[in-house]
């Protein structure tokens, strides 16, 4: 087999030497546009796991690479004049030029043809003489461009503006520096890559970059600006430029990675934002996977390329997801500047979802011990409970822990038992089974929750245009044949076969407001600790908030301020009768997940208005404003929204979104992404086994006689 590789970066060179070394190709040539010693960027990072893969794939280069490594296991965070360190983050780095030199040398000794300084030829021409053409020519791959349709390529900028410097300061840890200026937040990602120098990446959101005038500065002025800004941390050392210009990071995705005999590897196939430091690692792992697939499927190129894609795509998707979370975090990091340093640091460490409270406890038990103690608000405690079991004081009530259970029969142990939605009136029911709040309807449940040591929360709502439907065991929004008249902000039916609601008129508003206030009074009298008003999921009050369901042209429709008017008046009426020493919460869809509807910024503005009108807690949900929305379901799908509401509207939050483990709850509450979490507990086969012992399972092993 003859292989032509376009691009002489780490992915291309590594693939070339692996193919040649395994005897998989008779002829391997690498065509590179630049000179052999041309360099872009400074150092590249590897994790321990990646090093293991490199050792297994080619011990010789592994030895040469690890010989010149800078290694560290500490991560330093400079924030608000403090230096917080966390240990146990094993990483290594190498100068990019050194890595390339090692790979080039190994390629030469194995007989790979290296052709530097050659403009990349048309892949179609190369294909005439090669059995396989590999596009390893980076994020801006020229050989991919001609066939983007076939690959399903998308390239979108993500994250902040950034610039990639070197420095002669040798850091002794991976270092994050956060600096607040009059223009906004700047941050640095820095790490050593040999005994002489470190990589020093500066980034800031584009508006900050413009305000600081960086869009008008040249290379040298820009370097001087950054040297001045980080003079304290640089401690007299210089920043080094290597055509260092401010850039946007391109997120590259391809639906498929091969088309005929042209295959993509490394950045040409996918990029992952530099803030999780995985670009080179993923690229070289691609090369290993492709070489292995070609070995396994010798003689069957198509099957090998499919194997390669099947193996790599799921891994890469996970890293890209984490990288995008990380990039977005650094884009909005200024919104976390109110967090105490220890919480800020934990929030930073857990930004991409790859580190959790549990995994950090394994890496650095000292860090989580101090975090847990701080979170439990104890005075210099020696021992503190995990964050999930730290009490929460809110509006005169104390939640014994951070766990909320929303389903009945969940057993004890939660800090808050949240009821199903109870209607303020018979017209406001969702189904005939839905309860209407009567004087004593909750007394037993409140008593049972208190007995179990939990607070009791009541969800109070009016179904609006989602009313008069069949029971939820059958489905949702399946209309009754003999329903009752519905009301909503505007006469727009919710889903297929739904009845057309009447527009709620002024008299109706007065009545609904009075119903909410009266029900709230009854709830207070019954000893309800948390009253949660339903402003979510397209029910009556929510229908006013979104332009998709509110088409009114009176004083209650139009601008967001007008759409807020009636819902806020209900909140005010309830606030008047609800005790000061109990918690008043709202459940709020902070985005409609639908074109033309509320987006997250709108949702945060609504949450802020609710807070200003006396709401103590926002139960953050999303969507269901309209039946045809585009939700984004996955494990923890609401956590990111809760995080933004809590940080930007500065209001405590409660969040669900299919959280199933204590580790998720510990991570979410300790990082400040929410204050309370709904825990869903999937049934475990262990419970079944322990709950109902099988006959004969008395501890003796019963051996059946064979037949």
């Amino acid at each position: 087999m003859n292989v032509a590789i376009l691009g002489g970066g780490p992915a291309g060179l590594y693939l070339a030497l692996l193919l040649k070394n395994a005897g998989l190709a008779d002829d391997v040539r690498v065509v590179e546009r630049n000179a052999p010693d041309a360099t872009f960027g400074w150092g590249v990072v590897f994790s321990e796991e990646t090093l293991g893969a490199l050792r297994d794939a080619d011990p010789e280069t592994h030895l040469a690479i690890t010989d010149t490594f800078a290694r560290w296991d500490r991560l330093d965070i400079h924030y608000r004049g403090r230096l917080l360190s966390s240990r146990g983050h094993s990483f290594s780095a190498i100068a990019r030029t050194r890595l390339l030199a090692i790979l080039q040398e190994r390629c030469r000794s194995l007989g790979v043809r290296l052709e530097f300084g050659r403009e990349l030829a048309d892949p179609a021409l190369l294909a005439e003489e090669a059995d396989l053409v590999v596009a390893a020519d980076g994020a801006n791959s020229a050989s991919r461009h001609s066939r983007e349709q076939a690959f399903g390529t998308s390239v979108e900028p993500e994250g902040c503006k950034y610039v990639w410097f070197g420095t002669d300061l040798v850091f002794d840890a991976f270092t994050f520096i956060f600096r607040e200026t009059e223009h906004g937040f700047f941050q640095v990602h820095a790490y050593p890559f040999d005994e002489h120098a470190s990589t020093f990446i500066v980034e800031c959101p584009e508006p900050v970059w413009r305000r600081a005038g960086l869009d008008r500065l040249g290379e040298e002025e820009s370097l001087a600006f950054c040297e001045t800004l980080f003079a304290a941390e640089l401690d007299g050392h210089r920043l080094l430029s290597n055509r260092s210009l401010w850039l946007d990071f391109p997120k590259v995705q391809n639906r498929v990675w091969h088309d005929g005999r042209l295959v993509l590897v490394g950045d040409a196939a996918h990029t992952a934002h530099f803030s999780i430091g995985s670009g080179t690692k993923l690229a070289m792992e691609d090369s290993i996977a492709l070489a292995n697939a070609l070995l396994r499927r010798r003689g069957n190129l198509d099957a090998a390329l499919v194997d390669y894609e099947l193996e790599r795509q799921p891994v890469v998707e996970r890293f890209q997801q984490a990288a995008s979370e990380s990039a977005a975090y650094f884009g909005r990091v200024a919104s976390y500047r109110h967090l105490e340093p220890i919480q800020f640091a934990f929030n930073l460490l857990t930004r991409s979802g790859r580190i959790t409270h549990a995994s950090l406890t394994v890496r650095d038990p000292g860090f989580t011990r101090v975090l847990d103690a701080w979170f439990a608000e104890e005075q210099r405690p020696r021992v503190a409970p995990p964050p999930m079991f730290a009490p929460l004081r809110l509006a005169g009530r104390t939640f014994p822990n951070r766990v909320v259970v929303a389903d009945e029969g969940a057993g004890g142990g939660a800090g808050l038992v949240l009821s199903e939605v109870v209607a303020v009136s018979a017209e406001g029911r969702t189904t005939p089974e839905c309860r209407v709040l009567e004087d004593d309807s909750l007394a037993e449940e409140v008593a049972a929750a208190h007995e179990a040591g939990a607070l009791f929360g009541l969800q109070l709502g009016h179904a609006g245009r989602r009313g008069a439907t069949q029971p939820r065991s059958r489905g949702v929004d399946v209309p009754l044949f003999d329903g009752w008249p519905l009301v909503s902000a505007s006469p727009v039916p919710y889903g297929p076969f739904s009845a057309v609601p009447a527009e709620l008129d002024e008299d109706g508003m007065v009545a609904v407001r009075a119903d909410f206030a009266a029900a709230s009074g009854r709830a207070a009298a019954m000893g309800v600790d948390v009253l949660e008003l339903d402003f979510a999921h397209g029910y009556l009050l929510a229908s006013f908030l979104s332009p998709l369901s509110n088409r009114r042209d009176d004083a209650y429709g139009g601008t967001l301020a007008r759409r807020l008017r009636f819902p806020l008046s209900v909140l005010d009426a309830v606030r008047d009768v609800w005790p000061e020493d109990a918690v008043l919460a709202v459940r709020l869809s902070v985005t409609d997940w639908a074109r033309g509807g509320l987006d997250v910024d709108d949702g945060i503005a609504v949450a802020q208005a609710m807070r200003e009108h006396g709401c103590d807690l926002v139960h953050t949900v999303a969507g269901q404003t309209v039946a045809g929305d585009r939700p984004e379901y996955r494990r923890g799908f609401l956590t990111g929204l809760s995080d933004r509401v809590r940080a930007e509207a500065r209001v405590p939050t409660l969040v669900g979104g299919y959280l199933t483990t204590p580790d998720e709850v510990n991570t979410i509450v300790a990082s400040g992404r929410a204050d309370l979490c709904i825990l869903d507990l999937p049934p475990s086969p262990l419970e079944r086994e322990l709950g109902a012992p099988r006959e004969g399972s008395d501890g003796l092993l019963l051996v059946e006689s064979g037949g």
Binding site: V256, H258, D259, D302, A303, L305, V306, D307, E309, L310, P314, D407, E420, Q470, R472, S473, R474, G475, V476, D477, V478, P479, F481, G495, P496, F497, W593, V621, G623, Q624, A627, G628, D629, R630, P631, E632, Y633, R634, R635, F637, G656, G657, Y658, D680, P682, P683
Partner: protein, 275 residues
């Protein structure tokens, strides 16, 4: 976890006598369900017709569409076909529906492709809400509804109207991700309990090349993805056992293994592996 087997209703050679005998053997074997695929602009037997034939020769197994493209049929006709199979089989229909992916099926039936999501929503609301049930019989009571598809809208549709989720195939890890999404949607819509989770895979235990050729042809419309489906074809007892174990671990309730070769011995071969 239960294990079902597909009927070769879209596989070349799946003629009448074979389908009937296939169903009979499956019903007598270790399989809890018999499932069919749906294609219009392709050879093979229409799914509801195939299930009707199976209904006559089976007594026990559930009869499932895995899945049918709902929008390709007028809603009342879809309800009538489904309810008819349900009546013929004395209440054994599991109706899996999705929007349908193949543009040529929509061209062939003259149905608009772009609005198929909205049409499926209407169909599900019609079926679940017993709309027109006084005119369009037989009774729909007890038809188990599944919805398939990978978009957020598909999961929402599933949680809103159906009893469970029909996964489209892939390794156990892909199923695990889908199961988490299905559970998340189910909780988000406030449904009690948990959704029933159905998975599927392809197998060929005899003439593997014939099976692979069928998959390449059947999935030609997906372009390069066809090779991935071929790569995932389960072609050894060990591969099937690993697959079954993986799905069971990820919480699958019913795993349907679809044949890629219409050879009657394939039912017995599979029965031996999964028994």
């Amino acid at each position: 976890m239960n294990i079902g087997v597909g009927l070769p209703n879209t596989t070349p050679g799946g003629d009448g006598p074979l389908l009937v005998e296939w169903a009979r053997r499956a019903d007598a074997g270790p399989f809890s369900s018999l499932a069919v695929l749906d294609r219009i602009a392709y050879g093979g037997v229409e799914p509801f017709v195939a299930l009707a034939a199976a209904a006559g020769t089976t007594e026990r197994a559930r009869l499932a569409t895995m899945v049918a493209a709902g929008p390709l049929r007028p809603t009342a006709l879809l309800a009538k076909q489904a309810a008819s199979v349900h009546a013929l089989s004395q209440g054994r229909l599991t109706l899996g529906l999705a929007v349908g992916a193949r543009a040529e099926d929509f061209e062939a039936t003259g149905v608009e492709y772009r609005t198929r999501g909205r049409r499926l929503d209407e169909q599900l609301a019609y079926l679940r809400g017993d709309v027109d049930a006084d005119r369009v019989g037989p009774a729909r009571d007890g038809i188990e509804l599944l919805v398939g598809g990978g978009s957020g809208q598909a999961y929402a549709r599933m949680a809103r109207y159906a009893d469970g989720y029909a996964h489209g195939g892939g390794p156990p890890r892909a199923f695990a991700g889908a199961a988490a999404r299905a559970n998340a949607a189910w909780r988000d819509l406030g449904r009690p309990g948990r959704p029933s989770l159905w998975g599927q895979g392809y197998f060929a235990l005899g003439d593997v090349e014939r099976g692979n050729a069928y998959l390449r042809d059947y999935y030609a419309f997906t372009g390069p993805f066809a090779e991935r489906v071929v790569a995932a074809n389960l072609t050894s007892p060990r591969a099937i056992k690993d697959f079954v174990r993986g799905y069971e671990q990820e919480g699958c309730d019913e795993l349907v293994l679809f044949p890629t070769v219409a050879d009657i011995d394939e039912v017995d071969r599979l029965a031996e592996v999964v028994a």
